[in-house]
Amino acid sequence: MSAAEWVVETEGLTRRFDGFVAVDHLTLRVPRGSIFGFLGPNGSGKSTTIRMLCGLLKPSEGRAVVNGFDIERHPEPLRQSLGYMSQRFSLYPDLTVRENLEFYGGVYDLEPGPLAERIEQVFDQLRLREHGNDLTAALPLGWKQRVALGAAMLHQPPVLFLDEPTSGVDPASRRMFWEILDSLAVGGASIFVTTHVMDEAERCDLLGVMYGGHLIAQGTPAALKEAFPGFLYHVDAAPLLEALEAARRLPFVADAAMFGDALHVTLPADDPERLRRELESAGVTVRDLRRISPTLEDVFVQLIALRERAAEGAEGGGR
């Protein structure tokens, strides 16, 4: 693929803070026009990566190109070509929705005439008109997030970086937010979004999973599920807690986790009857045992668990 098809391209991108490496030699390619979901536990380096890509942090090492502009060598055109919605709320509570948008349009050099038209468009697109002249402080959180998105997309940037845009938002507002993201992507924008919510991750075209500053997996949601290592079983057992502990003690079980009122148990080899026998001999009643296809959450938990175990093993071996 030619460089123009990648909207974000990093090579060995690294950021250190006082002896701790937040992002460690990250090499990442995000195709243009897609919604890229950036997953990972807190502190895995997602926000640090985004802040480097937006020009807010200088990389300690490596390079990154966003929309064709090297983030260190061409910061000015880079800024015009991206919209950023930070984890922290960035609107002015004492300004109305319209005034906030007018301010952000102004700082992106939009002229008053075109800006006014653009605000009307954004009002329609984000369904903001109803509270357009209300103080931002008085709005519910879901509305505020849409106003912040509006501020980030006013100047029609080809790339949007959204850092946990829906945290704390109710499901209905979240759905509306993602419908808007879908329509923006259809309109040709590239969206780089972090989230902890798995049904949001399902809606992404492409996912990247960060752990400890590394990209540990990348692919479409379907491909990631496909690549799930081992076989996943849904186990309905009683008593549940004892079943969980028993499963975790079994040497041939890769992972066991509580999932609602049942367990999700990962087996490297497809031998469910052995699992049933061992659980029952531990005094647990197995009511149901069936193979299921992994959800993204299973994939995510599994990926992180494998990493954690590897890290613990390395530490233990070192001693």
Partner: protein, 410 residues
């Protein structure tokens, strides 16, 4: 994407957006502006009515050991009821024991002691001696009282000399003339040849409040401007909006200029208010050209707003910003610029340090315009120096802002 026009038009659009947003903040939270107006009014009242550096009705007592006509002639012009209200005779005492309690309780600021033989000395043309004992717990009042008293005695000497000369020349011999007014004005003795005339320029009633009003404007602009802008960046940092702004094309220069703009209006309105309220309260109006006053004030004001921005760029939070802005402006303005203490009385090293302070030059300029009515033809060095310092402060504010924004994001 936005149409790319001349880079300057982008700069102006960004500055306008920032200025407009700041103005809305001010309008939505009018407390800041109202406090900024209340402060100078309070200072005006304090300085105008309470803290006057002039003295009236200085209470004093007399211990007249001589009890001669000459002694009474010395005291008469000092006592109340005479032309001047400078002194106020609280009474005569007859014993040295009474001196201390009078001074200790501040019923008298000084006691004038007229020794036995005073009248005889005067009559014989010998130098007569009087003694004055001061309560110098408040050295300023004591100093000023002593100065007034020396003046009054000099005036009396002049009268005696005139009387003696007149008598020697066989002219009409009468009682010595009434005392001249201490506060100035034409003092015509009833008979010549010595005609003492003195006149005070620019501040004819020697009122310190007349001198205070332009000083107050200087102090007000310094403190107000720097404190108004000092918290602005810390506020955006605390709110979280700074991060978003920094991913936009907004630069340090845009922020400095845009954020200063609305405060120019606030501070200018403050100056107008002090001029009007001060004028109405004390009847003291600027003598000079108002345009000269406005242009000099604007030059100075821009520098002080830039100073506030500079502090703002460095301060980690709003409290520290405000504290630092007050310390950095109030103390030097109060003590070094000549607002309270004349610079000519300072040791040369302090004079050298205080000269380049823009507030020092502004104080010279605004007093010149306000009291003497002089203009740019005389005050151009002050104007030039303020223009230079303002430019330097603006450049420094922008640079420090740039560095601090780049670092503040870490």
């Amino acid at each position: 994407m936005a149409e790319r026009l001349h880079p300057l038009s982008g700069f102006l659009r960004r500055v306008r957006a920032i200025a407009r947003k700041e103005a809305i903040h001010l309008l939505r939270e009018p407390r800041t502006v109202l406090v900024s107006f209340a402060q100078p009014v309070m200072l005006l009242i304090l300085y105008g009515y309470c803290i006057t550096f002039d003295l009236h009705n200085i209470p004093f007592a007399v211990w007249d050991q001589d009890r001669s006509e000459a002694a009474r002639q010395l005291v008469r012009p000092l006592s109340a009821g005479a032309q001047s209200h400078t002194f106020w005779l609280v009474g005569y005492i007859a014993h040295p024991r009474e001196i201390e309690p009078l001074l200790a309780t501040a019923r008298a600021r000084f006691v004038l002691v007229i020794p036995r033989g005073f009248g005889a000395d005067v009559a014989a043309g010998r130098t007569a001696t009087v003694q004055a004992l001061f309560d110098a717990a408040d050295s300023n009042t004591a100093g000023v009282s002593a100065g007034y008293l020396v003046g009054a005695i000099a005036a009396h000497n002049a009268r005696l000399a005139t009387y003696a000369v007149a008598r020697r020349h066989g002219a009409h011999v009468g009682a010595p003339a009434p005392a001249p007014s201490l506060a100035g004005g034409d003092t015509k003795l009833q008979w010549e040849p010595i005609d003492l005339r003195w006149r005070v320029f620019y501040n004819p009633d020697l009122a310190s409040r007349r001198f205070i009003i332009p000083g107050l404007i200087g102090m007000l602009l310094t403190i107000l401007a720097a404190t108004l802008t000092s918290t602005t960046i810390a506020r955006e940092r605390e709110l979280g909006s700074l991060e978003t702004i920094l991913t936009s094309p907004v630069g340090a220069g845009d922020l400095v200029i845009g954020k200063m703009a609305p405060y120019v209006l606030v501070a200018a309105a403050n100056v107008v208010m002090v001029l009007v309220v001060g004028g109405l309260m004390f009847g003291t109006w600027a003598r000079g050209n108002l345009l000269t006053l406005a242009s000099l004030s604007l030059l100075f004001l821009l520098g002080m707003l830039a100073l506030g921005m500079l502090i703002s760029a460095r301060a980690p939070n709003q409290q520290q910003a405000l504290l630092f802005a007050i310390l950095a402006t109030m103390l030097p303005t109060f003590f070094l610029t000549g607002f309270t203490f004349p610079r000519s009385n300072m040791p040369w090293i302090l004079q050298a340090i205080s000269w380049p302070l823009p507030a020092t030059q502004y104080l010279i300029a605004i007093r010149g315009v306000f009291l003497k009515g002089i203009g740019w033809r005389i005050l151009w060095p002050q104007g030039l120096w303020m223009a230079i310092t303002t430019l330097v402060l603006l450049i420094m504010a922008t640079r420090i802002m740039r560095v601090s924004l780049a670092r503040g994001l870490e």
